[in-house]
């Protein structure tokens, strides 16, 4: 969709941040979830449309083994999360891809599954990658218990007590998903075949719905086990504690290349967010109710920043800066806006740019969007991408025009000296043993000859060099006939011509590149909170923390 043609605020363009500022890894690695995050869009749609939720199947025995079905009933269609609960010995519990068993496994069924469907899924879903699902399914996922918290909660509830709130806060979830496979994986339906449905025409809606229904399952299964153990004495979990629990997720390096492999999608996500910020800044006045909502969101953010912990040195430093920045925003905004402030939201933003760290600036962005749903929520519809539409390249473009395009949009890449070892120190590859992306050290490890094309800056520079040898008027088609090795990058340069936020404007093979910066950006768009790096290559996060449950929206089904 063309966001520009839908723009009710053409004046906003003047307030938009340039790609050279936005598309830097250091800033992307400070991204915060916002009301445009995919899980927020999902919840907004379901609440606005009055979706209903229930659990028509709960066939789980006293050992916690069995199956359940959670339905999300929308105005036009029903989606069913089919859950399989397992009794997993502790020694088999692993978050890794090589794991072969999990505490719970799930598939999102497109419609309402029959008993035959459930039996078919029971034979495959618990096997995850080693099974197959069908075109009736939209996702495949699994989750493991938090050993620290799960047993504690069951124990306490069984005796009629509530869990220790410090323990709950320290973990933040009962179970964590270790993989959620969407679009077309393991035989599931291709997203392209269902994208004509409005509820799926926003990125990652199936995955977000799956995780949200899984969150309900995590509470249902602890209460079930507590009842088995404690009988009549058993308590339900306290609503406030329940609300504070999200679904955990651990995410490895495999997620990092996604944003680089999908430049048009990345552009559309970034463009929507930047347009949202620009629309808010372009407001000539700040309505008093919007200012109140902003202050409420700021208060929540300060509370969240206190609860957000990490032991990773980089994140510890960032969290210190964030807490200090939020205090500063609070101090500044206590006297903002004054009666004479012109474009007060823009004034607030400019103050932030001058006084806050990157963490604080990106947090401020999310806070400024919060009271402006009427201005920005429609932009969620602009965040999908038809990548096929820009697949076919234009061979009639001249070599000179292509060179100029490179010099305009890839100027940041053309100045990098890749002969310096630090500028080419890493290489991305796919590991033979697990068929997943990894990053290696070029000068110390074998395998650089099998490098994946994620080194965009160097590919751009190589293309630029090769073009110098060619006549300016020659068509790109002739150039590519002689140089098929540049086809990948030529396609990319042309496809991103109308997509200014398509490229991460940093060297992704530099010695000091941090893969977690790419992951933070993507996870913020999902709506993940409490980003907690466990190394520079993998992270823990929480999803849906402090948000409602299906049973909050349809309480009668869980009475």
């Amino acid at each position: 969709m063309d966001c520009a043609s839908l723009n009710p605020f053409p004046k906003a363009a003047a307030f938009r941040r340039p790609p050279a500022e936005v598309m830097r890894l250091a800033r992307m690695g400070c991204a915060h979830p916002s009301r445009l995050s995919f899980l927020r869009t999902l919840l907004r749609r379901m609440m606005d449309q009055g979706w209903e939720f229930d659990r028509p199947v709960w066939d789980v025995d006293d050992a916690g083994v069995g199956r359940a079905v959670y339905r999300a009933i929308g105005p036009d269609r029903i989606y069913s999360l089919v859950a399989f609960a397992h009794d997993l010995p502790d020694e088999m519990r692993s978050d890794r891809v090589i794991a072969t068993a999990w505490d719970a496994t799930f598939a999102m069924f497109d419609g309402e599954p029959s008993d035959v469907d459930l039996d078919r899924l029971q034979a495959n879903v618990p096997l995850q990658e080693a099974g197959r699902i069908s075109q009736k399914e939209l996702s495949l996922s699994r989750a493991n218990r938090s050993v620290r918290l799960f047993e504690h909660v069951v124990d306490r509830l069984a005796t009629g007590d509530q869990p220790n709130i410090d323990d709950v806060a320290a973990v933040g979830y009962l179970m964590r998903t270790t993989a959620v496979y969407g679009s077309g994986k393991f035989g599931a339906a291709d997203l392209a075949t269902v994208m004509d449905r409005p509820e799926l025409n926003v990125p990652f809606q199936v995955e977000m719905l799956s995780v949200w229904l899984t969150r309900q399952f995590t509470v249902d299964i602890v209460e079930h086990l507590a009842r088995v153990r404690g009988g009549a004495r058993a308590a339900r979990i306290d609503p406030a504690i329940r609300k504070s629990l999200g679904v955990g997720n651990s995410t490895g390096l495999g997620m990092a290349p996604f944003l680089v492999r999908h430049p048009i999608l990345l552009n559309n996500w970034m463009m929507a967010r930047e347009e949202a910020l620009a629309r808010v800044r372009a407001q000539p006045e700040a309505a008093s109710n919007a200012v109140c909502e902003f202050r409420a969101a700021l208060s929540d953010a300060r509370e969240n920043a206190q609860k957000w912990s990490s032991t990773h040195p980089i994140q510890v430093t960032k969290l210190d800066a964030l807490r200090s920045d939020l205090d500063n925003i609070s101090g500044y905004s206590a006297h903002w806006p004054t009666s004479v402030t012109d474009h007060p939201w823009d004034a607030l933003w400019r103050w932030g740019e001058a006084h806050l760290s990157l963490e604080g600036q990106e947090a401020l962005l999310a806070l400024m969007l919060e009271p402006h749903g009427h201005l920005v929520d429609g932009l969620a519809e602009c965040m999908v991408a038809d990548e096929r539409a820009s697949f076919r390249l234009d061979g009639s473009m001249t070599v000179d025009a292509l060179r100029q395009r490179l010099e305009q949009s890839y100027d940041w890449a053309l100045t990098i000296d890749f002969d310096l070892p630090d500028n080419a120190a890493r290489f991305w590859y796919v590991s033979e043993e697990k068929l997943e992306p990894r990053i290696g050290f070029r000068f110390e490890e074998d395998g650089a000859d099998l490098e994946q094309p994620l080194c965009i800056a160097r590919l751009a520079k190589d293309l630029h060099s090769a073009l110098q040898e060619w006549s300016k008027e020659a068509p790109v088609a002739s150039f590519l006939l002689a140089h098929p090795e540049h086809r990948f990058m030529v396609r990319r340069v042309q496809a991103t011509e109308r997509h200014p936020y398509a490229e991460v404007r940093d060297n992704l093979i530099a010695a000091d590149m941090l893969p977690i910066d790419l992951m933070r950006c993507k996870l913020a768009f999902f709506g993940a909170s409490r980003f907690d790096p466990r190394s520079d290559k993998w992270v823990r996060i929480s999803l849906f923390q402090d948000l409602p449950y299906p049973s909050d929206l349809s309480p009668e089904a869980w009475a």
Partner: protein, 241 residues
């Protein structure tokens, strides 16, 4: 708990895993077919950009119930270890051949035709191009379809008295089984009258035989790097807390 060094990455939510082989094959989504054929073509030596074209072609055919994955496997097996110089199309007036009398790669040919867009389009019913010999010519259809869309005219591929049409809306009709069975043909590409409507994009999955799957996986594996101790060290940890 810190994980052992032999398995550093906790998980990867974005990868497409290896499809499980059933007794005789597996139903693959279009996404899986495209990714597998892309990797296999790259493993067989195509540039990344051409390998993307191979993935596109396989998925386009599978969506129309034509065995694109098998055709890709046949083609990359046939062209394995042949240099670009050998398969590179040579374009002259009204004719495309490979150098030194070699056989044309349909992916390379299709790509060249698409890059030149409607520059080739002549007057209606006049031969557009003579091409050949071209191996596994069914792989040319996805590219002709894209050109048809670009110039909003149907296009026919004709050989030995047989024809297949592609239309601007992704339709394909004609003697497709015959084309699928041809390992190599000389053909003419023409701007033709419109094909009869065919059911394009109706299929949601395609059954790929075990032979094709294992063959493609073998090539795809060539793009991967054996694990090293270096890459594993400190890369991550497993914690079950």
């Amino acid at each position: 708990m810190i994980g052992s060094v032999d398995d550093p990455e906790p998980n990867d939510p974005t990868r497409s895993g290896p499809p499980l082989l059933q007794a005789d094959g597996a139903w693959l989504s279009h996404n899986e077919i495209e990714q597998l054929c892309l990797k296999a073509a790259r493993g067989a030596g195509m540039s990344w950009g051409l390998a993307e074209e191979a993935g596109f072609a396989a998925a386009w055919l599978a969506r129309r119930d034509v065995d694109g994955p098998a055709a890709i496997l046949s083609q990359i097996t046939h062209a394995d270890a042949r240099s670009w110089h050998e398969i590179c199309p040579e374009v002259t007036a009204g004719q495309v051949t490979a150098r030194d009398g070699q056989e044309l790669c349909p992916i390379a040919l299709g790509t060249v035709l698409c890059d030149r867009g409607n520059n080739f389009i002549g007057s209606k019913q006049e031969p557009l191009l003579s091409v050949g010999p071209i191996t596994y010519p069914v792989l040319l259809l996805p590219f002709l379809s894209d050109i048809s869309k670009l110039c909003a005219l149907s296009i026919s591929l004709e050989w030995s008295g047989r024809r297949v049409f592609v239309g601007p809306n992704g339709e394909v009709t004609g003697d497709i089984p015959a084309l699928e069975s041809e390992p190599s043909i000389h053909a003419q590409i023409k701007v033709g009258s419109g094909p009869k409507p065919a059911n394009a994009n109706a299929l949601r999955a395609f059954f790929v035989s075990e032979d094709t799957l294992s063959g493609l996986n073998r090539y795809a594996l060539r793009t991967t790097v054996p694990a090293s101790e270096m890459s594993r060290a400190g890369a991550g940890a497993d914690d079950a807390d």
